[in-house]
């Protein structure tokens, strides 16, 4: 299958880091009154290169700053120290090249599914029938046809998250940021969404940065995983996931998958235990 070849290409292109992908250079971030020194250091000197077209997972216990790092890439928080550079230059503010999906969906509850998807398209200057058609396409892609005119409050959690993903994908972002997007879903829905996301990514060749604290989710979805520690947040390990590009239900029984999950779980557990003792 050609997708496998494309994956290999994507990894080769990773060598060419000067032009593409996301480059996080020595980023430090603290909350609270920094000047008075009472602040909490959330991220400490983070360096990370994410290649173009890579599916990268940020994995770690809660409070390790993985979401903060994602918000910095998104341009939602001001960068205090260091720099983040993407294909479009240094990150200074949010932009549709780095669209985001949040854990609590953040759909606009007063807009229907279609109006939510159209919102981003209108912001891109797309109007009329073109916009409508593209909205329809993306609603189809996430299997929500027939619910175009439903309000978010009328949908289940899984459907709301699919709508949020459609809204984000529709603006065709170069980079897709995902902040524990399946965290609020039940286990079954979650599994289905993971497979769908992986399939969508396989077709669209986007760079994905995916924040999670679920080891299996990270291994199942990602090409590379950054394991983070807390207080102050650091990247302790970066691990290549050497699983086939096409992943499905069988992947979960794959020996390599099980082995990797156990190995990573041990690394994450160390961090979690250290974090608990630290308090």
């Amino acid at each position: 299958m050609t997708t496998v070849a494309m994956a290999a290409d994507a990894r080769h292109e990773a060598a060419d880091r000067a032009r593409t992908g996301i480059h996080i250079d020595n980023v430090t971030h603290s909350y609270g009154a920094r000047a008075s020194g009472r602040g909490v250091v959330a991220l400490n000197r983070i360096c990370l290169d994410i290649a173009d077209g890579e599916f990268h997972a940020l994995l770690g216990p809660s409070g390790c700053g993985k979401s903060t790092l994602l918000y910095l890439i998104g341009g939602f928080l001001p960068i205090q120290e260091g720099a983040i550079v993407t294909t479009n230059g240094p990150v200074t503010q949010p932009g549709p090249d780095r669209a985001i999906v949040f854990q609590n969906f953040a759909l606009f509850p007063w807009k229907t599914v279609k109006q939510n998807v159209l919102y981003g398209l209108r912001k891109q200057g797309l109007k009329g029938e073109d916009a409508e058609e593209r909205a329809r396409d993306y609603i189809n892609l996430v299997h929500l046809s027939g619910f175009e005119d439903a309000y978010p409050s009328q949908l289940s959690g899984g459907m709301q998250q699919r709508a949020a993903i459609a809204r984000t994908l529709a603006v065709d972002p170069k980079t897709l940021l995902m902040d524990e997007p399946f965290g609020a879903l039940d286990a079954q829905t979650r599994r289905v969404m993971q497979e769908e996301l992986r399939a969508i990514w396989g077709r669209s060749r986007k760079t994905v940065v995916f924040v999670t604290h679920d080891v299996q989710e990270a291994v199942f979805l990602a090409d590379r995983i950054s394991i983070m520690s807390s207080r102050p947040g650091r990247i302790e390990h970066v691990i290549d996931v050497s699983l086939p590009r096409d992943r499905g239900e069988d992947t979960l029984e794959d020996r390599e998958f099980i082995h990797l999950s156990e190995q990573i779980w041990r690394l994450v557990r160390e961090q979690a235990v250290a974090a608990t003792r630290g308090r």
Partner: protein, 276 residues
């Protein structure tokens, strides 16, 4: 059913707190205090320099001097005391009637049948329009003023109590039952505490309404009080007197409303709203 519009919905917060650099509270307080000082100075000197017609807005110092003089002669305290007395008397009677009726409405179908339509019709009516009827029935002295205030405060209190005591979460009540509590104990120890946030919200809506009403009754029927003194000053084109009244009533309103807020904070230390 249209009976009750609960004013306090649990505020829908984001799952995670916004990561935001905490604003320096000291700066906030200083700047806001500064704004008040600047406003007072602008008032004082705006009137003095003649930028403002002193009849339309007499200078702050003139107003304060009037309050001082009235405080020396004691009239300020008589006015404030009377206004406070009428407000609180009417308000407390309304609470003493409204809270039990609201609880009973939630507990008994008969009580609900009787009061529900009266509340749903009475709640949105401008009660102040009935004032001349109370004057007709109870004359112009304190009785009719206090009854008018009670009448105004009653509806928000009943509506909030009823909203708070119906549709309560069943888990705490079942837990209490499982632990051996009897029904009347559950009422006092579970149902009322659970309804307390909404009841307090009802009281917090009712009290300012009671004050507004008191002031109007005093203006209309006389008999001293801040409202009575202000309308007299207004009729005699004594603008210093009018603004002295405004300053007094701002203080009174602030003190009364803040006291109720403090009471709420004390009574609801257990509530998530206390963590802020």
């Amino acid at each position: 059913m249209a009976t009750v519009q609960a004013t306090s919905r649990g505020s829908l917060k984001a799952k995670r707190a916004t990561p935001r650099i905490a604003p320096d509270r000291l700066v906030d307080i200083t700047v806001q205090a500064g704004v008040i000082v600047v406003l007072c100075l602008a008032w004082e000197f705006g009137a003095r320099v003649g930028a403002i017609n002193p009849f339309l807005l007499p200078s702050l110092s003139d107003v304060l001097a009037r309050i001082w003089a009235d405080a020396m002669s004691g009239t300020v305290f008589v006015d404030l005391g009377l206004t406070l007395y009428r407000t609180l008397a009417g308000f407390l009677i309304a609470a003493a009637l409204g809270i039990p009726i609201g609880v009973l409405m939630a507990r008994s179908a008969t009580v609900r049948w009787f009061f529900d339509p009266l509340i749903s019709v009475g709640f949105p009516m401008p009660k102040i329009a009935f004032l001349p009827i109370f004057i007709l029935w109870f004359d112009i002295y304190d009785t009719s003023k206090i009854i008018m205030v009670t009448f105004s405060c009653f509806f928000p209190i009943v509506a909030a109590t009823y909203a708070g005591t119906t549709g309560q979460d069943k888990w705490p009540i079942w837990s209490a039952r499982a632990l051996g509590a009897r029904e009347h104990e559950i009422l006092w120890e579970v149902r009322l505490p659970l309804a307390l946030p909404q009841i307090l919200t009802g009281l917090q809506v009712a009290l300012p309404v009671g004050m507004i009403t008191t002031i109007v009754t005093e203006m209309l029927m006389g008999g001293r009080g801040v409202g009575g003194s202000m309308i007299m000053a207004g009729r005699f084109a004594d603008s210093v007197g009018v603004f002295a009244g405004i300053v007094e009533i701002v203080f009174l309103g602030f003190a009364v409303v803040r006291s109720l807020e403090m009471l709420r904070a004390r009574l609801l230390v257990w509530h998530p709203e206390a963590r802020k």
